[in-house]
């Protein structure tokens, strides 16, 4: 018996349906979400382990 764990492009996974996403919207949203995540991966090129996410805490205290 074969196992297919890949999400079907025209059927949103059940947990995503809670976000009121239907199959038609999923076809549009899935590539958008993937593309956004891929552009975030590009940030690795200048991040180091020492970089803290301090921006939001520092700004208001200047």
């Amino acid at each position: 018996m074969s196992h297919d764990n890949e999400p079907k492009p025209d059927i949103p996974p059940e947990y995503i349906s809670e976000l009121s996403i239907d199959a038609k919207q999923w076809v549009i949203l899935e590539p958008l979400a993937k593309s956004a995540s891929n552009s975030v991966k590009m940030l690795d090129q200048f991040l180091t382990v020492e970089t803290e996410s301090s921006a939001i805490f520092v700004l208001g205290k200047v």
Binding site: M42, L43, T51
Partner: protein, 454 residues
């Protein structure tokens, strides 16, 4: 003139109400006009001024509010169907500050639903229309604020800016818009969109008017946890200072990747104007700007999805398609990607802040084109079709990431007669420097005293 009793606040407010009556059928700037309360408050202001109790430059001045500012007892829709009957039981801090300064709130203004969009094409209240061409968008999300100020329906307005929502409509409608430093102006009682990016600020026809309103609304507020205790400045005191010798950086990276040639030409002329004022403009490259969209997009949509998590789960059918789709996309962001974007933001901000070791201000175009037609979804830029919604905010996002103060002001017109603007950015809490430079530029600008045809 109000102080000298040459103009009465009652007549001033009445003339603006008449202007709204004459033009709002074409512009759709207002969600709610506060005729009765503004007349009543104008009568009170008149009484005070006649009794010698002048409160300052905003006393008796009609001001509009984007419809996400809480107004006690008055509906605050946030441009949505979900909140159409929401009536706050307190005023936003800045609304109280405006009232204390004697300003008259004349109405609640159109906006993109939840402030999550760049066109102000609102499915529930209709599109806000641009006074320079009513078939074109105002830009967003503070579209009603920009169109009402531009068309003379009020003398100033408040907007909010998370990815450019003050500067984009200011640019497309040919007015002055200030996004102050993050933390400079209280957000208490302003319906949130993105807690680490939201800022609120004034939109006006002139630089000086803008500085006067920022003077009234700035300051620390214990009710806003991100509010700063940094000392306050008088933003009007330095606006006449000579700016010769000022060092201006003109970043080329990112800002000129996708942009209409007409805007490029007008930016060149703006640089020449600065040179004629004694400024030294230097083109520079800033490679980190290439990551703007990844950082800004991830943080903004994820934080917006958190704010509206209940709405997207239980009332999605009441939300317009474009906004719903953005909220759903934000809901799909992984925690890993959100944190990575915030970490990257730290480096991004360091690199931008370092530029001010060598320069006094940065300049850039505000929007890559003039205002596109309301019913279009894409626009041609140098032979390539670009989606309007992301294009409008492309050049304004960097300053929300950094939180730095940025003012947008008009620099000319496209061949279709639509306004084009530039934005000036200064180090944190240096709004006074921006008003000084913008005011000196405004004096020699072709745009000064030009009014839209409506």
């Amino acid at each position: 003139m109000l102080k000298r009793k040459e103009i009465s606040p009652v007549n001033l407010v009445a003339s603006h109400l008449l202007r709204i009556q004459e033009t709002d059928g074409h512009l759709n700037s207002f969600i709610k006009v506060l005729s009765d309360t503004s007349k009543k408050n104008a009568a009170q202001a008149e009484k005070e001024i006649l009794a010698g109790e002048w409160k300052g430059k905003l006393h008796g001045i009609p001001i509009g509010l984007k419809d996400l500012y809480y107004t006690k007892g008055i509906p605050t829709t946030v441009g949505s169907k979900i909140y159409k009957d929401f009536i706050p039981n307190f005023n936003a801090t800045v609304v109280d500050k405006l009232s204390e300064a004697g300003a008259i709130i004349i109405g609640k203004l159109q906006m993109h639903e939840f402030a999550l969009g760049t066109t102000s094409h609102n499915p529930h209240y209709g599109p806000a229309r641009n006074p320079w061409n009513t078939e074109c968008i105002t830009g967003g999300s503070s579209g009603g604020s920009a169109s009402s100020v531009s068309a003379g329906q009020c003398m100033g307005a408040l907007g909010s800016d998370t990815g450019g929502s003050i500067r984009i409509p200011s640019a497309l409608c040919g007015i002055v818009g200030m996004k102050p430093t993050f933390g400079r102006v209280s957000r208490h009682g302003v319906f949130p969109l993105s807690s680490s990016l939201d800022t609120v600020g004034p939109m006006t026809r002139t630089v000086e008017d803008n500085a006067i309103i920022l003077n009234a609304i700035s300051g620390h507020d214990i009710n806003d946890s991100f509010s700063s205790e940094h000392r306050l400045s008088d933003y009007t005191s330095d606006i006449e200072k000579d700016i010769s010798g000022i060092k201006i950086a003109h970043p080329q990276t990112y800002f000129y990747d996708v942009i209409d040639e007409e805007v490029v030409c007008l930016m060149k002329k703006a640089s020449e104007h600065f040179a004629s004022l004694g400024g030294k403009v230097e083109p520079i490259e800033v490679p980190i700007l290439e990551h703007t969209l990844a950082i800004s997009g991830t943080i903004l949509l994820t934080e917006a999805a958190e704010i509206h998590s209940e709405n997207i789960r239980t009332k999605a059918e009441l939300i317009g398609n474009d906004v719903k789709s953005r909220l759903q996309q934000g809901s799909l962001t992984s925690g890993v990607d959100y944190v990575k974007s915030q970490r990257a933001r730290t480096i991004y901000n360091q690199k931008i802040n370092n530029l001010f070791e060598n320069y006094d201000i940065l300049i850039a175009p505000t929007v890559a084109t003039g205002a596109p037609p309301i019913n279009d979804t894409s626009v041609e830029v140098n032979g390539v079709q670009e989606l309007i919604a992301p294009l409008m905010a492309r050049l304004t996002r960097p300053q929300n990431i950094t939180g730095l103060p940025t003012i947008s002001l008009p620099i000319g017109f496209t061949s279709k007669g639509l306004p084009v603007s530039m934005q000036l950015t200064a180090p944190a809490f240096q709004e006074a420097r921006l008003y000084n430079v913008a005011n000196q530029y405004e004096k020699i600008s072709v745009f000064k005293n030009m009014l839209p045809p409506i």
